[in-house]
């Protein structure tokens, strides 16, 4: 039985705006889950429904087998890091961390022990007597983490906790969060619209768009087996490249035909293609690193712009009028050179109407 379960959860604001719909998710104890999606897709709304800060229009949420939909936030035993941290400005760091413990009527000595303990974990011992206004953004964020783990929550919710930090701090806090998660072993949900955060932190990622789940899976699954064109576009930087191709059958072999190339297709989706897509167009999706450059190929192109990245380069080219980005390790390639492209078999095919993966 799963630890946290959301069943057909739906949220409608003011009888008008459907923010979340048909949301189904099961989380195991100790898992680290990331909600990933573009702005306005309903991540915060879902998190707030779990925390009890927003009512559920339809559906059920169960924690440890019991429905929590009717409970007040305090009865749920959940802690949360808010997007703005919400560290109370009129209390010292110590008082902030101790707040929940005092409400639970713990003894002074016990409170002190817990506070010192989590302060050590989050590395804020030397700031305990300061007010939040005397802390930097990163330190404030650690206070929010300390406050959240002090109560030993059943569930640990984080709403874009790193979005206010600068790029460097964000990466180091990311590592800190992962370390703290491994120490505390709390079940966590982490909301972000930064895919690298989701990919590096989470055990499983829930990709959302327009209030519905597009896919749930590990970083590898999401990246290499994207279920929808939206995910192939949204995940990965640079994003995947798309070609509209025709499926034809010649001498018992399947070919994908584009204006600039024609290639034989031998992937596992071959049978489905023969069955449903003959003489129809499908969308071929190729990740930038799955191209081969000048190693025997079948697409003639010209490297228009080269973006050196140190360890590799990104080649911008143009095939049939489409902007194509290719990751390559040919560091000495010059812009303007002619190249010969091919691609390996890690390609995905999407139905051009439903935008779902053909498999």
């Amino acid at each position: 039985m799963s630890y946290l379960k959301l069943e057909n959860v739906k949220k409608v604001y003011n009888n008008k705006v459907t923010a979340v719909d048909n949301f189904n998710l099961e989380i195991e104890k100790g898992e680290f889950i990331a909600f990933l999606g573009p702005s306005g897709c309903g991540k915060t709304t879902t998190l707030r429904m779990i925390a009890g800060l927003e009512s559920v229009t339809h559906g059920d949420i169960t924690l440890e087998g019991k429905s929590i939909v009717g409970l007040t936030p305090r009865e749920r035993g959940i802690s949360m890091i808010f997007q703005s941290y919400a560290v109370w400005p009129h209390m010292t760091v110590y008082e902030n961390v101790a707040y929940a413990l005092k409400l639970r009527k713990l003894k002074k000595a016990d409170i002190d022990e817990v506070v010192q303990d989590v302060a050590k974990t989050t590395d804020i011992v030397q700031y305990l007597n300061r007010y939040p206004s005397q802390l930097s953004g990163g330190q404030r964020q650690r206070v929010a983490v300390a406050r959240a783990i002090a109560v030993k929550p059943k569930l640990f919710l984080m709403d874009e906790p790193l979005s206010n930090l600068d790029a460097k701090l964000r990466v180091s806090m990311r590592t800190d969060l992962k370390r703290i998660h491994q120490n505390v072993k709390s079940t966590s949900i982490f909301v972000t619209h930064d895919q690298s955060e989701a990919l590096s932190l989470a055990d499983r990622i829930v990709v959302m768009n327009h209030g519905v789940i597009e896919q749930i899976g590990t970083a590898n699954e999401i990246y290499h087996e994207s279920e929808t064109m939206f995910i192939a576009k949204f995940i990965g930087s640079p994003a995947s490249n798309f070609f509209v191709v025709n499926v034809i059958l010649e001498d018992g072999e399947v070919y994908l035909v584009h204006d600039d190339f024609k290639v034989q297709f031998n992937g596992q989706e071959k049978d489905v293609l023969i069955k449903n897509y003959l003489d129809k167009s499908v969308v071929l999706s190729i990740r930038p690193e799955n191209f081969t450059v000048n190693k025997g190929g079948f697409i003639k192109a010209k490297a228009k712009i080269i973006e050196p990245q140190g360890s590799h380069i990104i080649i911008n080219t143009d095939i049939g009028g489409e902007e194509i980005k290719i990751v390559s390790d040919l560091l000495e390639l010059e812009s303007g050179e002619n190249i010969l492209l091919g691609f390996n078999d890690k390609v995905l095919l999407f139905d051009s109407e439903t935008e779902k993966r053909i498999k």
Partner: protein, 342 residues
Amino acid sequence: MENILKKTILYLVIVFISLSVLIPLSYLVTISFSSQIEVNDYPKKMLPSLYHNIAIKWDAENQNYIVMRENNEGIFKELYISSKYDKIRDYMKTQLNIDMTTERIEKDFNVAKDTGEIVEYKYYKSFFNNYIKFFTVFSGAEKALINSIKAALITILISMSIGGAVGYALARTSIKKKEAIRIGSLIVRMFPMVSISVPMAVLLVRYGLFDSMLGLAIVYSIPNIGLTAAITRSIFIGVSKEYEEASLVFGATEAQTFRKITFPLVLPAFAASSMYAFITAWNDTAVSLLLTNKNETLALLIYKSIGGASSIHYAASGAIVLILPALVFTFLLKNYITQMWG
């Protein structure tokens, strides 16, 4: 160059403003510590004097003491002629603020009589004489002070509770016509309280609140409710909802959240607006002139007492009594407000 000019002008303006407040104020303070004789002195002293230099001469011919005082130009001028020690004592007490026993006067003055020479003494004034006098001469002063405090506190209470509730509603609920309410409550401030007082007098008489501090406070609250609503509204908006939600998530009830999070965070706004309410009530004379009869406020009493020219130094000490609480209150709150809002 232009910068220096700008700064010079700025400082001149600041100096001018502070002088135009400080000079009358220091004059008021000096007067409040002056004796009757000093009030009529010319030129006047900038700072209050602590003592008088008194010279005594025995006029053997008329069997009288001649009492002289050194004025601000260093010249001894004749003040009073008498042979009776208790008369001299009364004179010194009322005119010079010097409080002495008859025995002491007899002993000191006899020196002049015995030697036949002019003797000089330095007599210290009883420093707070005018203040004590203020409360004894103006029989209602003590009651007026208490009335003023009452009126101010009730005004604060009414404006804070109603204005605060309106401010909260404007910031946090989805009531209709918000903008109209907000502007409307501020527009009320445009009318002088006096003009409201006249119709209010009729209402107050009908409800038996005429000549009462509650009645006064209601009128004082009218402009302050709108102001409080405007100030607290912006604070309630400024206090992020997430502070309260965090408290709820971490195990507090709604009531605990209000007490421990919302209230402390909006307190500076209430402190600031209570300062305005206090000052409205404390400084008013016009409204209380219209709406009270026997229960006058301190400001009104002082306003009236300034009319009696002979007692200007008592009125001055009354004015200081009026200013002090307002100053203390303002400074305490100011420190608190700047501490919270940085």
